[in-house]
Every structure is written in structure tokens, then in C-alpha cells.
Amino acid sequence: MSAHLLAAESASDNRPLIVTLFAVFVVATLVITVWAGRQTKDATDFYAGGRQFTGFQNGLAISGDYMSAASFLGIAGAIALAGYDGFLYSIGFLVAWLVALLLVAEPLRNSGRYTMGDVLAYRMRQRPVRTAAGVSTIVVSIFYLLAQMAGAGVLVSLLLGITSEAGKILIVVLVGVVMMLYVTIGGMKGTTWVQMVKAVLLIAGTLLITFLVLLKFNFNISDLLGEAAKNSGIGESFLEPGLKYGVNATTKLDFISLGIALVLGTAGLPHILIRFYTVPTARAARNSVNWAIGIIGLFYLMTIALGFGAAALLKHDDIIASNKSGNTAAPLLAEEIGGGPDSTGGAILLAVISAVAFATILAVVAGLTLASSSSFAHDLYANVIRKGKATQQEEISAARWATVGIGTVAVVLGVFARDLNVAGLVALAFAVAASANLPTILYSLFWKRFTTQGALWSIYGGLISSVFLVLFSPVVSGKETSMFPDVDFHWFPLENPGLISIPLGFMLGWLGTIVSKEQPDKEKYAELEVRSLTGHGAH
């Protein structure tokens, strides 16, 4: 009997428990949201949570914002199916934080106000650069949202035994509605608290499963790996690199592309960058990154136990039958480790881990929606359309409407993306962020010659090239796991565009600058540099 049927069957028995846990989380977080909403009065509250959070609180919230369905469901699934190759995600996602720590977090906190665009446009012509920053923020966030929505649809339909298409669509809609409530009512304050709660739940749930998996192998990691290799039917090469990406020269290039996108993407993700504005000082921003590195590092270490545990204890065919890309390996593992599909322990653990995964998705989609609606309201509406004449209340109201709009787009796209591995989808968001945002952030902060034209070439060039390559990659068409498996218009061989688009983004920023006739504004750069390094005049 396939796992899908098993899960669907056990789900019908356990449905009340699972629904109750989901409902408890949703109600509790909505209460927090309403409470936070009452304290949200001005723009700084809505966009930056009043800048009152401590380094530790923000570190926790960053972890909650960052450890997405991709991390939890996607990496566990990728390791369970592709063995060691799935582990690259964990490593890249973590090492990437050093770019944020060493180069971006503190200067951004010192010189920006609410959005990534604040820093990109600081010494440039405001309207074109803010427009570019806003467009890029929204595109990156929607890519990322797509992944989370795909995860939500898959997960909840598995857990509740929903097999009808209408049911799955309803779930995605429901997630969209809850996330819109978090953001419109609670703003950054509410979102931050939801993310903190989620981070604690996720770490606790993962520790529990890791402990139980290791207990089964008497805390002998070597035995766990050996069993995973044996049970996978592949043998020792399951534990070595190359199973998924070592097939031929093209897949090897794809591996490099993915590796580069992961390590350079984080410091260009708008929903991560705006979190640095929620603390009072650059020093607190540094502390939050350090806490985040600790918490996230611990979590990614545990993906070894989750992924190889699933490979060791579940049948390969069952994982595939439940979800082609392995996205349900973690909850299935929880059920198995709790005593199996027919046991009470299995039912409880499955429900708990599902609720954790559900919380994970909700917290991340809230962060993403907040980042994109903030950028819409602050960069596009207030500074480009209204040319800085909008009142704070008008700006916040624009952000709330943008939340509804972006949420709707995410729901519609999420319906189409159900069978893609969510870790792979998130890697695309990382590639777009690394191509379109990171070059301009670094050039703006550290290169005094950088000009408006360089910024525009870099943002649009990185953005268009990465999205264009994805569109004609096997992710969208031509393969069984593609978004549109029945048609084939792909010609770009790699699944991840980073190898081409990231160097292109950096190159265009440089080229656009050296060929531009405009002189860089030296005084504005002096102001940016002094403020970004000293914290003078920071908000």
C-alpha cells in the first residue's frame, strides 16, 4: 500500500487532531496579530515593528523568516531521495549568512529606513532606482511565495487526506487569507511575533524527531547513514555527492549554479533585509545575525537526521508515491518514528510535525508578503507615484491593499506549482535575488564611482536574465516534474540560472557605471559611507 493511501487513510482517523492543532496555531497567532495591530500606529510600527526588538528576538524572527517550507520539507525530501546532494542546500543556505553578516546587515541598518530600496536609491536618482528596487523586491518575493504555497497545498492535502483538486485549491486560498490577515492587521510587529513563535516550534519539533531518529540508531550516525544507504537501494553512493547532480556535465554545471545562487542569494532577499530595520542599532543587527546563524545552523545540522532518517526508515517508493519531489518525507518520517501509521504515537507525531510545517509556511509567507507590500507602498507608491507627498496613513493603507493584491497573485500561482520540489523553487528565488539585488547593494555601499545607470542595468539585467532563463528551463516545461509537464519549450539546460545571471548582474552594474556619462554624486556617497559605518543619523 502506498504511503499516500496510508496517510490518507490514517488522516481520516486523525483528522480531528490535525485540524485542532492547525486551528490552535492559527487562532493563537491571530490573537497575537490583533494585539500587535493595536500597537501599530505609525509607519515605523507598520514597516519596522517600531525598531524595538532585541538582537535575540530579531535573531529568532530571522530564523523563523528564513527556515521555510523549503528548508523543512524540501531539504528533508531532497536528502531522502537524492542522498548527499540534497545536503548542499543546508550548507549553502547557512554559509550565505556570512555575506549578510560581514557586508550587508550593519551598513543597511545604519543607512536605510524601511525597505531595500532605501539603500539602493540613497545616492542615486530616486525614482528610477526605487522603481527598479520595488519591481525586483516584488518579483523575488513572489518566486519565494510560490514555493511556500506549493508546500502548503501538498502538505495540507496529504495530512487531511484531501485528494480532490478543489480541496487542494481551497487550502492554498485559506493560507493566503490567513497570511493577509497577519500582515494587514499586525504589520511588522505581528509578523515578527508570529515568526518567533514559529521558530521555537520548528526547532522544538525538529529536535524531537532528530532525537527519536538517533535513538533508533543508538546515537550512532554511521549506522544511520549505513541503513539509509542500504534502504535507499542505491548503496554507498547514496552518501556521496553526485547522485542527482553528477549524472553528466550539464547536471554538474547545475550543481555549481545552485551552489553559487544559495551562497549569494540570502543577502539580497528583501524579506530578510527588512528584518534588520526592526532593531535599534547596527550592533543589534549584528547580534541578530549571530543568533540567526546559531539557530539556523543547528536546524540545518538536524536536516541530516531528518533526510537520512527518512531514507533509512521509509520505503523509497512510498516517499515518491506521496509526493513526486519528496516534499512529504519529513511528516511521513514523523509518523513512522512515532510508531507507524496505525499507532496513536504515529498519529500524534504526524499531527504535531504537520502543524509545525503549517506554522512554518504561514510565518514565511507573512514575511514575504510584508516585504513586497512594504516595497510597493514605500518605494513605488509613496516615492515614485506620489513623489514623497503621501502621508504616513496613506502609505500604510497602500501597503495593506498591496498585501491583498500580492496575496491573491501568490494564491493563483501556488495552485500551479504543486508538484515542484519546494527547495528547488526557493533556489530560484535565491538566484534572482543574487542576480538582481546583491550586486547593486554591494556596489552602492562600497564603490564610490557607482552610478544610477549602473544600478539600473544591474537590477534589470540580473532580474530579466534570471527570470528569462528560468522560463525556458526544465523547471517550467519539458520534464515530468516541470510546472507544465505536458508542453516543452525549454532550451536552457540548467534548472538554476545563477551561473549565468549572477555574474551578468555584477558585470552589468560595472559596465553601466563605466559607460555612463553622469558623474557619481560624491557628496551623497560621503553621506552614505559616513552614516553606514558610524550609525550617525540612523533611524
Binding site: 548527499y84 545536503f87 548542499l88 543546508s90 550548507i91 549553502g92 547557512l94 554559509v95 549568512w97 556570512l98 555575506v99 560581514l102 557586508l103 529606513r113 532605501d118 536618482r125 530616486q126 525614482r127 550516525i221 554511521s222 549506522d223 547513514l225 554507498e236 553512493s237 552518501l239 556521496e240 555527492p241 553526485g242 547532480y245 553528477g246 554538474k252 550543481f255 555549481i256 551552489g259 553559487i260 551562497v263 550592533r283 547580534n287 546563524i293 545552523g297 540545518y300 545540522l301 509613496a382 513623489k387 514623497g388 507627498k389 562600497f446 560624491k522 557628496e523 551623497k524 560621503a526 553621506e527 559611507e529 559616513v530 559605518l533 558610524t534 550609525g535 550617525h536 543619523g537 533611524h539
Partner: protein, 118 residues
């Protein structure tokens, strides 16, 4: 020519003339602060990105080496991956120590002087 909109600039908290920033930027004290950040952060970034890329490339093109068993079923690839975790933690700790000792006092001194001036 676009001008910075009123609410977009930190005017509420910026009380210095723009030429003052250029003066601070040119000062020896600020040069030291910038140098202390760049001479630490830039080489270290190159180092950890190279170290990470080495790991990615070895995984791709040296699977024989990466598959070598170290202990039981634990192979070089896993040890290499765990080493990436370890170096990430160490670099974060090292940078924070550097920042507290070399960056924060200098930044604070310049910031206080700027605030006195305004």
C-alpha cells in the same frame, strides 16, 4: 532631475550640511574605521566563498576522494560539509570580536563628535 522627496531623506535627524560629511569622510580617523572594516571583511569574504566553492567543486569533480570512508559510513564529503558549518560559526564569532574591538569604539567616537557638531 529627480530630487529626493522630503519624507525619503533622513532630514528629521540629519542636521549636518552635506559638505560636512565629505570632510568627515576625508578625515584620517574615518579612514581608519573604513580600513578596519574593509581589510577584515573583504579578504575574509573572498576566503570563505573560495572555501565554499572548493567544497562545491570537489563534490562535483572529485567524487572518488569525497567518497573515501573516514570512519564507518562517514565519508570525506560529510566531514567536508560539517567543516563548512564549523567555519561558518567560527567566522561569525571572529568577525563579531573584531567588530566589538576595532569597529564599534571608532564608529562611536566619530558619531559622538558628529552629534556634538550639529
Amino acid at each position: 532631475m529627480d530630487t529626493a522627496p522630503a519624507n525619503d531623506r533622513p532630514d528629521d535627524q540629519r542636521q549636518l550640511d552635506r559638505s560636512d560629511y565629505a570632510e568627515v569622510q576625508a578625515s584620517a580617523e574615518f579612514g581608519e574605521l573604513r580600513g578596519a572594516h574593509r581589510s577584515f571583511a573583504f579578504p575574509l569574504t573572498v576566503a570563505f566563498v573560495s572555501w565554499y566553492l572548493l567544497y562545491v567543486l570537489l563534490s562535483n569533480y572529485a567524487d572518488g576522494f569525497m567518497g573515501t570512508k573516514v570512519v564507518g559510513h562517514i565519508n570525506v564529503a560529510l566531514v567536508f560539509g560539517l567543516a563548512q558549518f564549523l567555519t561558518t560559526f567560527l567566522i561569525a564569532w571572529w568577525y563579531s570580536r573584531h567588530a566589538a574591538a576595532k569597529l564599534d569604539p571608532r564608529a562611536q567616537a566619530i558619531k559622538s563628535r558628529l552629534e556634538e557638531r550639529s
